[in-house]
């Protein structure tokens, strides 16, 4: 009798440990799901070589709005030169963002992008972005940071306007591992 009980108990302990692991497995699963479906405005990136190969559709104009935010704990100012651009799907565009460190010490920040509406994020691709890496600014330093992007021509016709929003977060320790879904996977 004791043997039978030990067998069941052992099996169930293994199941519960596996479910603990499953909780952690939900993390990469969630990232993959978000990348594939574009949920949460997690937009992807594209290489320059690929971007120039896209057909430019000059008959269609899409408005891209830019939005800048800083986290509560981030004493930087952060703005964009032009708050909106009219772009043609397939053409390579550039927007310039300006961040300045308003403290008297060197600080590192990370910008997190988000695209709305969510469905549009599948078609909004960045070629070059300050959000790919962490940004370090000296005391009082300002920095002009360009973003090169392309709107893919396959984007559904009903989307005439989309918003690219960035939030700058402080990076507590520079040794922090870089976020996997922002760094282009080569």
């Amino acid at each position: 009798m004791l043997d039978k009980n030990t067998v069941i108990a052992t099996r169930l302990f293994v199941v519960s440990i596996a479910m603990f692991g499953f909780g952690y497995a939900l993390v990469p699963l969630y990232d993959v799901l978000c990348d594939v479906t574009g949920i949460n405005g997690k937009s992807g990136d594209i290489s320059l070589a690929e971007a120039v190969k896209l057909d430019v559709n000059n008959n269609r104009t899409v408005t891209v709005e830019f939005d800048t935010n800083v986290n509560n704990n981030m004493p930087w100012s952060f703005r964009v030169e032009n708050s909106k651009l009219q772009v043609h799907p397939g053409e390579i565009n550039e927007a310039v963002f300006i961040a300045s460190n308003q403290t008297n010490q060197t600080m590192t920040g990370q910008a997190i992008p988000s695209v709305a509406p969510g469905v549009a994020s599948l078609y909004f691709k960045k070629i070059e972005c300050f959000c790919f890496t962490q940004q370090t600014l000296g005391p009082g330093e300002s920095k002009r940071m360009p973003v090169k992007f392309v709107v893919k021509p396959e984007m559904p016709e009903n989307i005439r306007m989309l918003t690219l929003s960035y939030t700058f977060f402080p990076v507590s320790s520079p040794a922090k591992p870089e976020p996997s879904h922002i760094v282009p996977s080569s």
């Binding site: 169930l12 199941v15 909780g23 949460n40």
Partner: protein, 530 residues
């Protein structure tokens, strides 16, 4: 445990006083410990609810600081979920499962002792946080980051308390599964088991599968706060919404962990007092299984407003609504059991009938919340509070009260005071509706949950709700008195206790012997449903 103590137990003697309770491996002792613990925490959590209702009696800030108010709502929820309903139903399981399946004790008695004795430590850790200078946790029992990560000194206490509660429940669940699968008396086939045993078997599987996910989620919170990971920190590439997904992947099965044992209790009580076998036994078993299965597929209905794609909203909406089918099967089976039965209304039956009606109210408001487009209005309002209090208070807690009155004569050997029991019931059932029904209106009118102050338009219904709350809280003292009185003495209970009761536990003496079935009983003539 030493050889000597083992030897003692085999001869039906056991250490006396504190040592008996500390070292006990007996399922009845441990069941009693669980039930007493649950009752004690019921009053602790209830006192916090009284603070909440006192503050909400009128608009403006009256008695407590907003931070303390929020820690009251947080602690009230954690205590009622993990400290009252879960240990309470485990207490029922410990007392009753071996007696119902014809076993001498639980399968893993020493683990049983552990799984109980972890709990007082877990809740001491949790309650201690109220005495910290920075106060207790105030980020809600759902512990959403980034708010939860702002918790100060209390944070690690809460996380470790949740870990301990989880370990306790998992061990309890493993024990229950092992007992039910291995310890049944010859002839007690799976489809002959009383429904309470079935619902607990399924609940135990839910526990083993979902509690570890909660443990994972809170561990991620812990490492985010102290060890520089960024699971939920956007700056490091994480996502706070991910926490909601992981939490509710646990959280939705959890609500069935709370309610399935209650279904089991009601399925024992109603046939007894309707003097008819349970209608649709097999469909009850299948309905319970399908509820358990579906519970893993509907978690995102707690987060319709978080910004999901349309396809996901629709999937979770339809999956959620489909749970109404097996739940409806259960309600109809209980009604059909009562139909043309020779019903009498002793206190357990009163609570059971109230359960069927009021749980259905909670089920319907759940359906309303499950409709994604309208949930955008109801989300995070008092409508949600009204909904889950209907399913948990008039659902799970009423079922437990029904069970206490039903089995108390069996456990103690004395009949409880029927007049006091009925008084307790009528005061509770009236006041609980005065307490929670107006909260539906408040929610539909737009009153958000988890706030200490509110717009004056909500004043009247809040005042009425608070009155109901105070009466409901005070009525529970009657329950305490009934239990104390019944333990101390009273009319001697017969073995069967209730005229219509059938099942193995009613063949034993009242109170039953320390070891239930030393020789396995014969099953054929005592099963309730065939």
């Amino acid at each position: 445990m030493s050889e000597a103590v083992m030897h003692d137990i085999h001869h039906d003697h056991h250490p006396e006083g504190l040592r008996r309770w500390l070292f006990t491996t007996n399922h009845k002792d441990i069941g009693t410990l669980y039930l007493c613990f649950s009752l004690f925490m019921f009053f602790v959590g209830g006192a916090m609810a009284m603070v909440i209702r006192a503050e909400l009696m009128a608009p403006g800030l009256q008695y407590v600081e907003p931070q303390f108010f929020n820690s009251m709502t947080t602690m009230h929820a954690l205590i009622m979920v993990f400290g009252v309903v879960m240990p309470g139903t485990v207490g029922f399981a410990n007392w009753l499962l071996p007696m119902m399946i014809g076993a001498p004790d639980m399968a893993l008695p020493r683990m049983n002792n552990w799984s109980f004795w972890i709990l007082p430590f877990a809740f001491t850790l949790l309650l201690l946080t109220l005495f910290l200078p920075s106060g207790g946790p105030a980020g809600g029992w759902t512990m959403y980051p980034p708010l939860m990560l702002q918790t100060e000194t209390a944070f690690p206490f809460v996380i470790f308390a949740v870990h301990f509660m989880g370990v306790s429940s998992i061990m309890g669940a493993i024990n229950i599964i092992a007992t039910i699968l291995n310890m049944r008396a010859p002839g007690m086939k799976l489809m002959k088991m009383p429904l309470f045993v079935w619902t607990w078997l399924i609940t135990a599987f839910l526990l083993v599968a979902s509690i570890p996910v909660l443990a994972g989620a809170v561990t991620m919170l812990l490492t985010d706060k102290f060890f520089g990971t960024s699971f939920f920190d956007a700056a490091g590439g994480g996502d706070p919404v991910l926490f909601q997904h992981v939490f509710w992947f646990f959280g939705h099965p959890e609500v069935y962990i709370l309610i399935l044992p209650a279904f089991g209790i009601i399925s024992q009580v109603i046939p007894t007092f309707a003097r008819k076998p349970l209608f649709g036994y097999a469909s009850m078993v299948y309905a319970t299984c399908s509820i358990a299965f579906l519970s893993f597929l509907v978690w995102a209905h707690h987060m319709f407003t978080v910004g999901m794609p349309l396809a996901a909203e629709l999937f979770f909406m339809y999956a959620t609504m489909s749970i109404a089918v097996p739940t409806g099967v259960k309600i109809f089976n209980w009604l059909a059991t009562m139909w043309r039965g020779e019903m009498t209304f002793e206190t357990p039956m009163l609570f059971a009938v109230a359960f069927v009606m009021l749980f259905t109210v909670g089920g319907f408001s759940g359906l309303m919340l499950g409709i994604a487009p309208v949930d955008f209005q109801y989300h995070d309002t008092y409508f949600v509070v009204a909904h889950f209090h209907y399913v948990l208070v008039t659902g799970a807690v009423f079922a437990m009260m029904s069970g206490v009155y039903y089995w108390l004569p069996k456990w103690t050997g004395h009949m409880y005071d029927e007049t006091l029991g009925k008084l307790h019931f009528w005061l509770s059932v009236v006041s609980v509706n005065v307490l929670f029904f107006p909260q539906h209106f408040l929610g539909l009118a737009g009153m958000p949950r988890r706030i200490p102050d509110y717009s004056t338009q909500f004043a009247e219904w809040n005042a009425i709700s608070s009155m109901g709350g105070f009466v409901f809280g005070a009525s529970q003292l009657i329950l305490l008195w009934v239990i104390i009185k019944c333990v101390r003495g009273g009319e001697k209970a017969t073995n069967q206790v209730w005229e219509g009761a059938s099942g193995l536990e009613w063949t034993l003496s009242s109170p039953p012997p320390y070891h239930s079935f030393v020789t396995p009983p014969t099953i054929e003539d005592v099963t309730s449903h065939s």
